[in-house]
């Protein structure tokens, strides 16, 4: 992954960044299928990979709970690799079988994996071929969610970058909110943007594949998620303009985020304040009840979703927590410029991972709470370190004013629990 196209945003952070290479205890991009397939209700995700890929998706995040998933894996076998079977013929057969079983599918993603990338199976060409065969009933797109190219949320980034190509190019002068959000948050945001006075707000991805919003030169977009590097590039390539903002976590983050859109639409300051004030007050009040549990507490982030710098900003700025180390799998300094500028000077910012060395640092720092992946959480708890599973931060509504208290609660609950338990 590379940085977005050159931008005239604030200069790169002057803060030192600890970059390590060793074992990376992170998910690959395929994992984001778990929420994407729930978000886009008529899309299906077909991973072209190995049994490991299939096993990953069903194991990650305990998703064995879905009885009716809209994802599957085309598992490559010995004969596919040995060239005995033409992989493309096999893929066509499987897609036909799948679409016959699920005629409700309007959009099919062929998702590349480590093995499909290593053997250089051209899924872009396959998607074009299959789209030609099945369009207009079903559109077929492709992206890579492989671990050699993507980490966890970068899977959503790659998916949305591919999806952008399918959006209509109409000139709509719309505000585009980019990044998969829970439906309840989307609805709140739509109401608030209307109150602020922005005539047309669209969301990307849309809930249905046949309702994609227009993306063109008069589109201005606001990222709702910080991990959308490639999507940003794809939208900018269509002429859409990014509105710079921090991310809408907490009362301050959300205020600045909405303000950035209001400014882009030249909404008078008074009008903006009038619309936002009750929401902001509500968020502040909700946060207040968590302050006592969190203020002055130290926190250590292992890399997971790229949300880490934004969350660290929220927790330190709005709740008085002390971030010790903020790890992220990949640091996009352009998209995160506004957040990085507000991080306390004394916290370590780290990119990439050597999990053993990072665990050593975490044990030495004895944080009040460590934010980490599912593979590390119980082992750290057993060592006496309170943890917050990072994946809940991706699976819960945490954006915006009315979720600010819930977001704080995700961090205060493990601390309250530890204090409550006498066993």
């Amino acid at each position: 992954m590379s940085l977005a196209a050159p931008d005239t945003s604030p200069a790169e952070t002057t803060r030192p960044i600890l970059r390590e290479r060793g074992q990376r205890e992170v998910f690959c991009g395929l994992t984001s299928i778990v929420w994407l397939h729930r978000k886009i209700q008529d899309a299906f995700f077909l991973v072209v990979g190995s049994r490991t890929c299939a096993h990953l998706i069903q194991s990650a995040a305990g998703v064995m709970v879905f009885a009716e998933p809209r994802f599957a894996t085309a598992i490559m076998e010995e004969r596919d690799l040995a060239g005995l079977a033409d992989a493309n013929d096999e893929l066509d057969r499987i897609v036909t079988q799948l679409l016959a079983r699920r005629p409700d599918i309007k959009l099919l993603f062929l998702v590349g994996s480590c093995p499909s990338e290593v053997i250089k199976l051209d899924l872009h060409k396959a998607a074009e071929r299959l789209s030609a065969a099945h369009f207009p009933r079903t559109r077929v797109l492709n992206y890579s969610g492989s671990g050699i190219e993507t980490t966890f949320t970068q899977g959503e980034d790659a998916c949305l970058a591919a999806l952008a190509a399918a959006a209509p190019r109409d000139d709509a002068n719309n505000l585009l909110i980019v990044g998969a959000l829970p439906d309840v948050v989307e609805d709140q945001f739509a109401r608030l943007f209307a109150e602020i006075g922005i005539a047309r707000t669209d969301f990307f991805p849309a809930r249905r594949a046949d309702a994609l919003p227009p993306i063109g030169p008069s589109t201005r977009f606001l990222l709702a998620q910080p991990f959308l590097t490639d999507t940003t590039r794809a939208l900018e390539a269509r002429g859409a303009k990014r509105i710079r903002a921090p991310f809408p976590f907490g009362a301050e983050g959300a205020t600045a985020w909405f303000q950035a859109a209001a400014d882009a639409w030249s909404i008078p300051e008074m009008e903006f304040r009038r619309a936002i004030a009750p929401h902001r007050a509500r968020a502040k009040r909700a946060l207040e009840s968590h302050r006592q549990a969190l203020e002055g507490r130290s926190i250590f982030f292992f890399p997971d979703s790229q949300l880490e710098p934004s969350l660290a900003r929220f927790l330190s700025q709005e709740l008085g927590m002390r971030p010790i180390e903020v790890g992220t799998p990949y640091l996009n300094q352009t998209l995160l410029a506004e957040e990085l500028a507000q991080l306390p000077a004394d916290c370590v910012l780290s990119e990439g991972q050597d999990v053993e060395l990072q665990l050593d640092r975490c044990r030495a720092a004895k944080p009040d709470i460590a934010v980490c992946g599912l593979g590390l959480a119980n082992p750290l708890e057993a060592e006496g370190i309170t943890t917050k599973w990072a994946i809940e931060l991706v699976f819960s509504p945490i954006h915006g004013f009315d979720q600010a208290g819930d977001l704080a609660g995700l961090f205060s609950r493990p601390l309250r629990r530890r204090a409550a338990l006498k066993v």
């Binding site: 205890e25 299939a54 194991s59 064995m64 992989a87 057969r93 980490t151 309840v184 968590h290 208290g405």
Partner: protein, 511 residues
């Protein structure tokens, strides 16, 4: 290519992880891309292990592929040895690691580490998890209990008969409790347990395997290869009866006692309650209930016998995803007048269940999905299982206590006997009707429209949009949200609840 919605088994290197994680003193280095570390959470989350699996992943990325992934692997092995100081190192490649052909075996041996290195060849595109576990265990046993030409030291006269218990692993379905239960049986027979492996064993323990008189294969999918090796090289007889169910446990005891030359009479093997629970009149209604059974080979075969002979069910379908045990499962099905379903295709199993419309499904987590979709009662009898099937309580499947546990577990999902009658008598009763789930399972959703909630205290009305907003709140907290919002509105003298009221209340009660 094979279209797979759910997979019953993981790739073979996950089998290797189950062996390494179950053991003490070994460390596995996997040449695998970034993301394959997901497998750690199988152990730390699903099984709630309190330590990371002893596994290091190289987690190579695209940029490494242009460079030197072999060096990356060598460094990972060297660092892992330095940090963890294992008694033995296992090395292998995952599916993508296999494609880049770096030769983990040669690289690891070239490091000249002061510990034995066992290289595993696990063909990811041909084999699966259980095969990988069996192969890993076999390679370890072969390495630490090699064939010797030295004659076996004769046992001193009066020495007790001893055996090895082979097969339990990390992430096994009830392996922890099965081992405890089988050990109790052996103690009751005055038979010594020489080594339990791989679960809890170290490489040094594996070196003691030849000391035992026989092998007990608890789980054939995992232990058969190693047990055959020990039979071949060390002359150890194999006990293959899985003591799952009342009769199988009795058979197991008889077989073992005969081999050891011990009289099993007048010994206590625990309280066998299944026979009476099954004979008591309350169980009458279980007679002829149609059950569908699917799981790994060993558990599926054991379940079929219990279902027919010990609970009085009618087995209408039997199958397994274990190709290694296909022959045994087929024979068992044939004896029941059935044709076995041997497949690892979830969709095929789903079609079979939908077609047979059983009253109870005994399967894996995957059949639980199918049963949920079809509205059929289900109990889990085999891996793969989810977190709720790794219980805190003692819940073996083996031995007489295991049979007690099985009776309870299989009967629990069913509607109770008398309740069945009520359902039949009052088709449109508000409580006992067609769509109602078993009354003791509150979580079973009734497919009836949920009646409107009781009117709120006072004269409070919900606006349509607020009601709609409320419906977006997850059902398990929706009731609380409704109550809190109404209380909030009453306290403020509001007569109508709007969306804003809902969120004002949410923020008011936030804690």
């Amino acid at each position: 290519m094979q279209l797979s919605v759910w997979t019953y088994e993981g790739p073979p290197h996950v089998g290797a992880m189950r062996i390494a994680t179950g053991m003490r003193g070994v460390h596995l280095v996997l040449h695998a891309p970034q993301g394959d570390t997901y497998a750690d959470l199988l152990f730390t989350m699903i099984e709630r292990r309190n330590a990371r699996p002893p596994v290091t992943f190289t987690t190579f990325q695209a940029r490494d592929l242009g460079g030197d992934t072999a060096q990356l692997f060598s460094d990972a092995v060297r660092d892992a040895y330095a940090r963890f100081q294992p008694e033995a190192l296992l090395v292998c490649a995952s599916c993508t690691g296999e494609l880049i052909q770096d030769n983990p075996s040669g690289l690891a041996h070239a490091l000249g580490l002061p510990a034995p290195v066992i290289a595993l060849d696990l063909p990811s595109y041909q084999k699966k998890e259980n095969w990988g576990a069996a192969e890993t265990f076999y390679q370890l046993v072969r390495a630490f209990a090699p064939k010797t030409d030295a004659p076996r030291t004769p046992k001193p006269p009066g020495a007790r008969f001893s055996c090895n218990i082979l097969g339990p692993t990390a992430l096994g379905f009830r392996h922890r409790d099965d081992v405890a239960e089988v050990c109790k049986i052996l103690a009751a027979l005055d038979i010594d347990v020489n080594v339990v492996a791989p679960l809890g064993a170290s490489p040094a323990d594996l070196a003691r395997l030849p000391d035992a008189d026989c092998s007990i294969v608890l789980y054939p999918e995992i232990a058969e290869t190693a047990a055959r090796y020990l039979e071949r090289t060390h002359g150890q007889k194999i006990i293959r009866t899985m003591p799952i169910g009342q009769q199988a446990t009795a058979d197991f005891i008889a077989e073992l006692a005969a081999l050891a030359g011990i009289d099993p009479a007048n010994r206590s093997f625990g309280d066998a309650r299944l026979p009476w629970w099954s004979r008591s009149v309350d169980s009458n209604y279980l007679t002829g209930k149609r059950v569908f059974i699917f799981g790994d080979g060993g558990h599926a075969i054991a379940a079929a016998r219990i279902a027919r002979d010990e609970l009085g069910f009618e087995v209408v379908g039997l199958g397994s995803y274990s190709r290694e045990l296909a022959r045994d499962v087929r024979a068992c099905a044939e004896a029941l007048g059935l044709t076995a379903l041997i497949t690892d295709d979830y969709l095929e199993v789903e079609a079979a269940i939908a077609d047979l419309q059983p009253e109870l499904v005994l399967g894996t987590q995957m059949e639980r999905h199918i049963a949920k979709r079809l509205g059929i009662a289900c109990a889990v009898i085999s891996a793969p299982a989810h977190v709720q099937d790794y219980p805190a309580r003692y819940a073996p499947q083996m031995g007489f206590e295991g049979a007690n546990v099985i009776f309870d577990t299989w009967v629990h999902p069913l509607v109770m006997g008398l309740e069945e009658h009520l359902l039949a008598m009052f088709r449109d009763d508000f409580e006992f009707h067609d769509g109602a789930g078993p009354s003791h399972l509150a979580a079973t959703p009734a497919p009836q429209p949920v009646p409107a909630a009781a009117p709120a205290a006072g004269d409070i009305a919900w606006s349509a949009d607020a009601e709609k907003e409320l419906s977006k709140i997850p059902f398990f907290v929706r009731g609380k949200a409704r109550r809190n919002t109404e209380r909030f509105a009453v306290e403020r003298g509001l007569s109508v609840i709007h969306i804003e009221t809902l969120y004002d209340a949410k923020s008011h009660f936030a804690r």
